[in-house]
């Protein structure tokens, strides 16, 4: 995976580059918009990390120009601007994610991985949490290396939670994804499904668990 990092603070840029290389990404570091344009013109990148306040202009201008040209590569904004409206502006300009400085490097790496897992990124993504590995293309699930068979609904729920692992997925989002808008579902259909999935995972001693946030939704995380 080849990344372009646009960051004009030299220390931060180098730390980022080293950390991302350590996480097995190929990273090109540039410090300005012009540099970034030049690199984007000659090399293909899988994703971009973009600082907003750059010496030769606003990173948002670069992002908008990129999207106008139809470039689909995932972009993560890295910025010191943290007002809610800044976040909205950033996402409206075509960013896929938004991380406010200061941030933890592992957080940045996991978000980059999540971005690269998105549908418009490569197909055949392998999702993983704890000892649970799901090949979404092959619909193949293993727990600690042993294959585990799940029903279609259970599999769909697990994939949904896996794609947003470590984050809350609301009941509404799950119901919509699993049952569609129109299907009349029983009020506790989702509870029953979650209960079944939990039992299946517990039976094989999976090192990952579905947590309930009553009234809100569910969260899949490492641990039991």
């Amino acid at each position: 995976m080849r990344l372009l990092a646009v960051e004009d603070e030299p220390d931060l840029g180098l730390l980022l580059r080293d950390a991302l290389r350590h996480a097995a990404f190929t990273v090109d570091l540039v410090t300005g918009i012009q540099d970034a344009e030049d690199h984007l013109a000659v090399a293909g990148y899988d994703a971009m990390i973009l600082d907003l306040g750059l010496a030769d202009g606003d990173g948002l201008a670069l992002l908008r120009a990129l999207r106008r040209r139809g470039a689909m590569l995932p972009v993560l904004i890295l910025t010191a601007r943290d007002a809610p409206e800044d976040r909205v502006t950033g996402l409206d300009s075509g960013a896929d994610d938004y991380l406010v400085k200061p941030f933890h490097v592992p957080e940045l790496i996991s978000r980059m991985r999540a971005l690269l897992r998105r549908p418009n990124a490569a197909l055949g993504v392998v999702l993983q949490v704890g000892d649970l590995v799901l090949d979404t293309a092959a619909r193949h699930l293993t727990v600690g290396g042993t294959p585990l068979e799940l029903s279609l609904r259970e599999m769909a729920l697990l994939e949904l939670l896996l794609r947003r692992q470590g984050r809350v997925v609301t009941r509404e989002a799950i119901e919509q994804a699993l049952y569609g808008f129109d299907a009349a579902i029983g009020s506790n259909a989702l509870e029953v499904l979650v209960h079944r999935l939990r039992r299946r995972l517990a039976e094989v001693g999976a090192h990952a668990a579905v947590h309930t946030l009553r009234g809100v939704g569910y969260l899949l995380a490492e641990g039991t």
Partner: protein, 467 residues
């Protein structure tokens, strides 16, 4: 609170009254003096005429005695009254030769001057007012006429009483009217000032841009109001600069802190590295809160958009669940009824609720439940099973940089470092105030604390967004 003050209108009234009394007094003195002068002039003229009237009929008899043959009318005038008018004929050495009243003449003669002219006789038992006379020389004789001063006194008195009975009433009416007009003018002229003071009482650093109304001001008062407005503008600029500084300082710290965090993240795992990361996180948290506070302070929050409190709660809970779960703390949302439609600021409410949940998670024991309770009447409560907040501290914890006693901080909490900034609850209070609501903490049955965020802008009765 109220300083010893004086009032303009009564003071003006008193001063006008004093001037009026002085004017009336001066006028009375002038009138009286004029009356006296006039009476004297009248005396003078009348007495000269009388002297001449007597002298015309005077002749000298052979043998050197004066011979007076007065017509009956004059005779009556001098002898008819109560001896008020007296004529005296003397030698040049003032020896009385002839008089209408010898007893009176004896009293009068010593006061006659050597030269011709007017003279006065002091009061005597017979003439309590004294007398006034005129003497002139005719041939070998001096002829004098004297009369009681009573007559001129009467004239003066009647003139004065005339003045007091009509003039004084007139002056009083004019003066009273002037005083009333004065008071009314003062009251009326000061009305804009009263408006200005009402506006001044509403000046609040949380709502910059408020100015005293300077329309329709009298020229005497306008400079004060304009000067106050200019002073407000200067203060506001200074306050704004200070707030911007807080915001900019916090903002400027982000980049070096990002470098520090990245460097710490690059360190190999060790207990020391963990502690350093926690310290850096704490600084990050403080800076975030300072920025939020500066933002809340800096500009009036737009609380006019419809908000869905349920969405607010779900967003805040979702944000914190990944932090709470590793600490064995479960988060849940409980809805009691459907919340009334509400206007407010979604982002600010999420921040406020996030701070409440963070606070609860930081104090809740491992394995416990932190509940967000959404009640119908625009009321969000965050309930924990922590140690609770002592009654004495319930107000103070919402103040900026308030630090609770050390014992209240859960020592083993991973979030301890992330919460100790002392701004989180102050931000909650700020968010509540911006929504015309309030934030407070209550005790909870069975132990723990209930932090309540109550909002005061139901969408129906919305009166705009001024908080």
């Amino acid at each position: 609170m109220k300083p010893a003050s004086w009032s303009l209108a009564p003071r003006l009234a008193w001063r006008l009254a004093a001037v009026l009394v002085a004017a009336i007094g001066l006028a009375a003195i002038a009138v009286g003096w004029r009356a006296i002068v006039t009476a004297r002039a009248l005396d003078d003229t009348a007495l000269q005429i009388q002297v001449h009237a007597v002298a015309v009929h005077l002749a000298t008899a052979p043998g050197g005695t004066p011979l007076l043959d007065l017509p009956p009318a004059l005779e009556t005038a001098f002898h008819g009254g109560a001896g008020d008018n007296v004529f005296i004929i003397t030698t040049p050495r003032d020896q009385v030769r002839l008089s209408s009243d010898p007893a009176a003449a004896a009293l009068i003669v010593p006061y006659m001057p050597q030269t011709d002219g007017l003279f006065r006789v002091p009061a005597t038992p017979a003439q309590p007012e004294g007398m006034v006379g005129f003497v002139t020389r005719f041939g070998a004789w001096r002829v004098a006429v004297a009369q009681s001063r009573e007559q001129s006194e009467v004239l003066v008195r009647s003139l004065l009483s005339e003045f007091f009975s009509t003039g004084l009433v007139l002056l009083s009416v004019i003066g009273g009217t002037a005083a009333l007009i004065g008071i009314w003018t003062v009251r009326d002229g000061l009305r804009p000032l009263r408006r200005a003071s009402v506006a001044a009482s509403r000046v609040d650093p949380a709502q910059p841009g408020r100015r005293l109304p300077d329309a329709d001001l009298p020229a005497e008062v306008a400079p004060l109001v304009i000067a106050v407005n200019q002073a407000l503008a200067r203060l506001e600029a200074a306050l704004g600069a200070q707030r911007r500084f807080v915001g900019e300082a916090a903002h400027a710290l982000r980049t070096p802190l990002a470098v520090l965090t990245a460097r710490l993240d690059a360190l190999p795992e060790s207990p020391d590295a963990g502690l350093l990361r926690r310290d850096a996180d704490r600084m990050t948290r403080l800076i975030e809160q300072m920025l939020r506070m500066a933002r809340l302070d800096g500009q009036p929050l737009d609380v006019s958009k419809p908000v869905d409190l349920r969405a607010v709660a779900i967003e805040a809970i979702s944000m914190l669940a990944p932090l709470a779960l590793p600490q064995g703390i479960e988060l849940a949302l409980r809805e009691i009824g459907t919340p009334a439609p509400l206007t407010g600021n979604h982002a600010a409410l999420v921040i406020g609720l996030t701070n409440l949940i963070e606070n609860a998670v930081a104090h809740a024991p491992r394995g416990s439940l932190v509940e967000v309770e959404l009640a119908a009447a625009a009321r969000i409560a965050v309930l924990d099973r922590g140690p609770g907040v002592p009654a004495a501290e319930r107000k103070a914890i919402f103040e900026r940089f308030h630090r609770g006693p050390v014992g209240h901080v859960k020592r083993d909490s991973q979030m301890r470092g992330a919460t100790g900034a002392g701004l989180g609850l102050a931000i909650v209070a700020g968010v509540a105030a911006a929504h015309r609501g309030a934030a407070w903490v209550e005790g909870r049955e069975g132990g723990g604390a209930a932090f309540v965020l109550k909002l005061g802008t139901p969408a129906d009765g919305a009166e705009g967004s001024c908080a």
